[in-house]
């Protein structure tokens, strides 16, 4: 068989084409870990405060080494304040400011979406402002496949990314909002200069950044100085507690260690999302009925100063409702019916008045069906019969003692049943009240007050294992 020349040419050409296709290599990425987009903290407009998101900020002492002589380290829940903050990016500092007035009605600092001048609750050093871009030939503009951190092409306030030194809150005497400061006050604890952030990838305490859901946490290591005892009354000086047995004037030997105590503190930030929560002022009468932890908010009145009428103790509770307020467009949460404002509430009038006794507060008559005025949100509530439950999930995470899972799940189930019954009962009773009935007499219960039993999957408390 004779090969035709055209075939050889074709084969040769095909071989040539095959070898001539240059394979694309992955670019060289010289961007170091922990680069954070400024937009995550201050929105797309780095200078304007109007698009700054709010964050919940809380530090949690997640671990204390054995041998700490300071009891306060083990009961540190009092020193884990939750605050709502907005961030300010300066050339050297990332500053967290309260997103509300510490005393409502006092100085206006931190009030309003377009402001960011609240009290400073934390400040962290910014190690670098940079852009992430391709390296390029400065003489021709030709870009390369090397991706670098560029710190020169734009001024710091225009660069997109920052790297933050989270290891220390530089607002060190922030006794109301900073965990270490509070531990120092209540526990009498002093600290070593040594402190660092756990950044090793793969470490359980490595930073968690989930920009999509607006979450960031970093875990710091701080070191408390060994506990000391004052023996000056005995003619001695201040000595480490570990030098003396427990039966000797505050000594702690042998369990109290002579080395600095390692504290592991997780600083977490989550973007504030509008969950349509309805706050409740847990006043004295309610507290007597059902004791609960509260978060106090104080108010200031011109000419009067601090007043009791503006002192609110908000109950700390789970939000079991998907929505708590009425909206014309429920999905977009727009079209709320306003109340307790100068238009709806005449001077001196009770925003909760129900003159016609129909079970719906008068300012919320447009919603009807038992709607009430949420005076804190200044919106009419969604009638209970129209509300949907949402699950409250407690996670049993990796590393937790598995022995605790079963009893926790059982306890959660019991609470789940109780809460679902109460939620269903509340909806029914309030519905009947609105319908002018006093008791549900089956089959006399109006159809409009019959509620579906919430499905197990969709409502109530549940304990889930993340393992």
């Amino acid at each position: 068989m004779t090969r035709r020349p055209s075939l050889r040419v074709a084969v040769s050409f095909a071989a040539l084409v095959a070898i001539s296709c240059a394979e694309q290599q992955a670019p060289i990425n010289r961007v170091q870990p922990d680069a954070l987009d400024k937009a995550f903290f201050v929105g797309k407009d780095y200078q304007a405060a109007s698009d700054d998101p709010e964050f919940y900020s809380q530090a949690t002492v997640v671990d204390v080494g054995y041998g700490a002589g300071q009891d306060g380290l083990f009961t540190s829940s009092y020193a884990q304040p939750l605050s709502r903050v907005k961030w300010t990016v300066t050339e050297d500092l990332l500053i967290a400011r309260l997103a509300y007035e510490r005393i409502q009605g006092s100085d206006g600092k931190g009030v309003g979406k377009a402001t960011n001048d609240g009290i400073v609750v934390a400040a962290y050093a910014i190690k670098s402002h940079f852009d992430i871009k391709r390296e390029y030939n400065p003489q021709t503009g030709e870009q390369t496949n090397v991706i670098v951190e560029n710190t020169v092409d734009r001024p710091w306030y225009q660069r997109q990314y920052i790297r933050v030194d989270w290891s220390k809150n530089l607002s060190t005497d922030n006794y109301e909002f900073d965990t270490l400061s509070q531990l120092g006050v209540y526990g009498g604890i002093t600290y070593e200069p040594l402190a660092y952030t756990v950044q090793t990838p793969g470490d359980a305490d490595a930073p968690h950044v989930d920009t999509a859901s607006g979450y960031l946490d970093v875990t710091n290591k701080a070191f408390a100085r060994p506990q000391l005892v004052d023996l000056s009354s005995l003619g001695g000086g201040v000595m480490p507690a570990c030098y003396f047995d427990a039966d000797f004037s505050g000594g702690g030997a042998p369990n109290t260690q002579c080395s600095p105590v390692e504290l592991t503190i997780r600083q977490a930030f989550r973007k504030v999302e509008d969950t349509d929560y309805e706050p409740a002022d847990w006043d004295g009468d309610r507290f007597k009925a059902f004791g609960a932890f509260t978060t106090d908010r104080s108010g200031y009145a011109r000419e009067y100063g601090m007043t009791d009428t503006q002192w609110h103790r908000f109950i700390n509770r789970y939000n079991i409702w998907k929505r708590s307020h009425f909206y014309a467009d429920a999905n977009a949460k727009t079209g709320a019916v306003g109340c307790f404002n100068p238009t709806t509430t005449p001077a001196g009038a009770n925003p909760h008045r129900d003159v016609n006794k129909d079970g719906t507060e008068d300012e919320c008559a447009a919603v009807g069906r038992g709607s009430r005025c949420d005076t804190f949100s200044q919106k009419c509530t969604l009638p209970f019969r129209d509300r949907e439950l949402q699950p409250v999930v407690w996670y049993h995470s990796d590393g937790s003692n598995p022995d605790f899972f079963e009893p926790t799940r059982d306890a959660a189930h019991e609470w789940d049943v109780a809460l679902r019954r109460r939620a269903r009962g509340t909806r029914t009773w309030l519905c009947l009240k609105t319908e002018g009935r006093t008791r549900p007499t089956s089959p006399g219960t109006p159809a409009s007050c019959r509620t579906r039993r919430p499905s197990v999957a969709a409502a109530g408390l549940a304990a889930r294992s993340m393992a």
Binding site: A26, N137, Q143
Partner: protein, 357 residues
């Protein structure tokens, strides 16, 4: 050539490599022009078929030896940092003629820098160039206009460090040239040459970033490598430009060329998913080409039948200089002076036989 450590990354072996590029350009010119000096032996205009047939098939085979000097070597105070460059170079240039129309031609160079080199691992290291293999068609001359058309196909093999750094497999470069000879004294030839080169690379990017692997290769890709700190390899390029060759005397030839090259770059690699949010990464500059200009001027003298000499200068520029200004394309800090001696094998054998007889 060694600059201060502070500027080591910005320095390059410009003069040395310019020298290399000059030889490339001269070779380019020699290929394009008709035989004017009798030295080149390149496939050019066939003027006397009978005479060519009497010559051996390896006619034109030669060995070239040169010394190259960066022009800034002679002007220590011209720049803030004195970077002298002086090197020698040996070129092996075999040819084999298949009749009068087709010639197979090879080029391979060994170079060595006497001054401190930026690109070698040790002092006075000998560096290799790529191997060039040209298949030359001597072309034809249109009788009325006396315009000559020639063509060739160049294949290069990556024996140089710079080509290996670019993961080169080979290059394929078809070229054509159009020339016209005028009977002025011993001959004036105007040429316009064009070459398209496809560079078959294994990867779209070179294996290192800097210019450090580009020593004296006296090859075109070396100039590209030196002056561009980007890491993408040129995928293909077009080199073109005019050449003038004037022979005022049968033994003297003056040549000048001005060549322009535009190289097209492959696309940038995709951005890693974790960096997709970077607005600066999304905004590209749009620069997808790389340009280069080459200028050469030389005077050749055929002293003997077997030995000829060339003295010349050549330079290249393709971007702003380090002072932020455009470099003058005909003379700048990249200019290299060179002195070549070319030993023609056919001429040497002929002289030897004549002497013996």
């Amino acid at each position: 050539m060694r600059r201060s450590a502070r500027f080591a990354n910005h320095s390059s072996k410009l003069p040395l490599n310019l020298i290399g590029l000059l030889v490339v350009a001269v070779t380019f010119v020699a290929h394009a022009q008709p035989i004017a000096t009798g030295l080149s032996g390149s496939g050019g205009e066939v003027t006397d078929g009978a005479k060519q047939a009497d010559r051996p098939a390896w006619r034109g085979t030669s060995v070239n030896y040169s010394h190259n000097l960066g022009v800034m070597t002679l002007a220590p105070g011209a720049e803030p940092f004195y970077t002298p460059t002086w090197s020698q170079r040996l070129g092996l240039m075999p040819e084999w003629h298949f009749g009068d129309l087709i010639t197979l031609r090879g080029r391979f160079f060994l170079s060595q820098e006497f001054t401190e080199s930026d690109s070698t691992r040790y002092r006075n290291e000998v560096e290799l160039s790529d191997v060039w293999l040209d298949t030359v068609w001597s072309g034809f001359t249109e009788k009325n206009s006396r315009i000559h058309l020639g063509a060739d196909l160049r294949v290069t093999l990556p024996t140089s460090k710079v080509s290996q750094a670019q993961t080169r497999i080979l290059t394929l470069g078809p070229g054509v040239n159009v020339s016209r000879r005028f009977d002025v004294l011993s001959g004036l030839t105007l040429i316009y040459s064009t070459r398209f080169t496809w560079r078959a690379n294994r990867y779209a990017t070179r294996q290192n970033e800097g210019p450090k692997s580009c020593g004296d290769t006296r090859a075109l890709e070396c100039a590209d490598f030196i002056l561009n700190s980007g890491v993408r390899n040129v995928q293909f390029d077009v080199l073109h430009g005019p050449v003038v060759s004037f022979a005022p005397h049968p033994k003297v030839d003056v040549s000048a060329s001005f060549l322009m090259q535009r190289g097209w770059l492959p696309a940038l690699a995709a951005v890693p998913a974790e960096l997709a949010g970077s607005t600066e990464l999304a905004a590209g500059t749009g620069v997808a080409t790389r340009d280069l200009m080459i200028f050469s001027l030389s005077v050749s003298y055929q002293a003997f039948k077997a030995v000829g000499f060339s003295f010349g200068a050549w330079t290249f520029s393709n971007q702003l200089g380090e002072d932020g200004r455009y470099q003058f394309p005909l003379f700048n800090r990249n200019t290299t002076l060179y002195l070549d001696a070319t030993f023609d094998l056919e001429g040497a054998v002929s002289s030897f036989r004549k002497e013996k007889s």
